[in-house]
Amino acid sequence: MLSVTNLEARYGAILALRDISLTVEEGELVALVGPNGAGKTTTLAVVAGLHRPSRGTVLFEGKSLAGRAPEDVARLGISMVPENRGVFPTLTVAENLRLGTYLRRDGQVARDLEQLQERFPVLGERAGQAAGTLSGGEQQQLAIARALISRPRLLMLDEPSLGLAPTLVDRVFELVAELHREGVTILLVEQNVRRTLEVADRAYLLQTGRVEASGRPAELRELVDIESVYLGGARRPGAQASEPAVGSR
């Protein structure tokens, strides 16, 4: 469904992505993990059309995303929940959700909104409230709900658990797993590796703009000492990083 090949991206003189290749198949939950500055967020930004890569290709359902504006990427059915959540603070909760339906032309929007409020009761309760007044957890729910109401073909979540209280972190991972079971294709970026590997079908470990290792969670755990990656990155002695990706291709 999504295939990224040999991606390179810069911010000015800084090379953020050196060589990233990854795939996401329909219905899969694929995670990008790795320390700060590994290039996870930049990878999502390139797919979303926010950042232009200097090299490499991005294909979504056979169409190239190169040079497409964010609004055109959205039109192909890719929905993004950015790291800062991207909630419009001066708009009400209801208005935020309405913008999520901006591209929908079918008659089921009202029904979907109702269902969404069953799933996220707080959004129904706070419908008329400015989104900027919501708590961090509520804003995260709103951001995810707004992405879902667009009925995305691919949902990209950037650090959805960031800055949330532990109980809310649980709730977010439950939600991600739930969406996955319902068949939503998800590309998840997370720093919480342990929790992420519990829910993901496959994961890519990124480090300094490269894919360091990839595969199913069990394979990845064997290949690399995940916890130590954040302390400078050590490959398990004797293990070989597999590249390209192991798993369903």
């Binding site: 926010l50 504006a69 964010p70 959205a74 991207g86 708009l91 208005e95 667009s150």
Partner: protein
Amino acid sequence: MDAEFLAQFALNALSLGSLYALMALGMAIVFGVLRLVNLAYGELLMVAGYTLFVLNDSPLPWLFVAGAAVLAASLASVLTERVAFRPVRVNSLNAMLITSFAVSTLLQNAALLLVSPRTRAVNVPGLLTQSLEIAGLRVSVANLITIGVSLSLLFGLNLLLRRTTLGLALRAAADDFPMTRMLGVRADRVIAAAFAISGVLAGVVGLFWIARVGSVVPTIGAGPLLIALIATVIGGMGGLAGAIAGGYVLGALTVGMQLLLPPGLIDYRDAFTFGIVILVLLVRPQGLIPGRQSARVG
């Protein structure tokens, strides 16, 4: 200070304040989505003025001529965005700022070459120069119409922003433009809409501005530009409510100075007004209703 004096002050302040509020709003709506201080904003009033001048001898009723002038200002606004700002939008904010300065100079020189560097008289309907007696108060018709039209415009714009999808997109873009685009809203369309609205506001302000002086010159936009800039800064760059508040505060200040300063100092009215503005900004540098800083569209 008697009641009559206060009523006169209130009416004049409301009238001038409304005009300033519209001016500031036209500037703020573009700043909101693009973070651009459009230095060519004053020239949109000039375009409205010269449209009036060109149609001076037309047999059309004045209201149609006025409508054409507003339309011309809006068209000029959209056109400058398409031709000048859009190509440099991805470069940098400074590139856009300099471009707006260039557009301003270009439009002024076009008027200079195509019409004349000298002042040109513009027909103003007699109604706008008359005044009425209401409860012993001398009230100029122009003031009443200014207030009426401005308040209806503010009301209409509020409806547009709150009730329509375009309005929703405009407000969202002012909050977070990249996110707005990721929801499928076309950046070009939102920006063009902001410029169109900005042009309509400039055109309407232009009508009243030019009706006050009864003529148009190529440099007519300089004053309104300065007022719009100062009003948006007092109001707090970024927010539309702030721009409106800033406009009314500046209008009230100007009228207050006009009424309170001794005759010998009246020539220095603007110096006093802007002196107070500086004092206000020293105390409240973020403006009356500060806007938020958000990411720029690239």
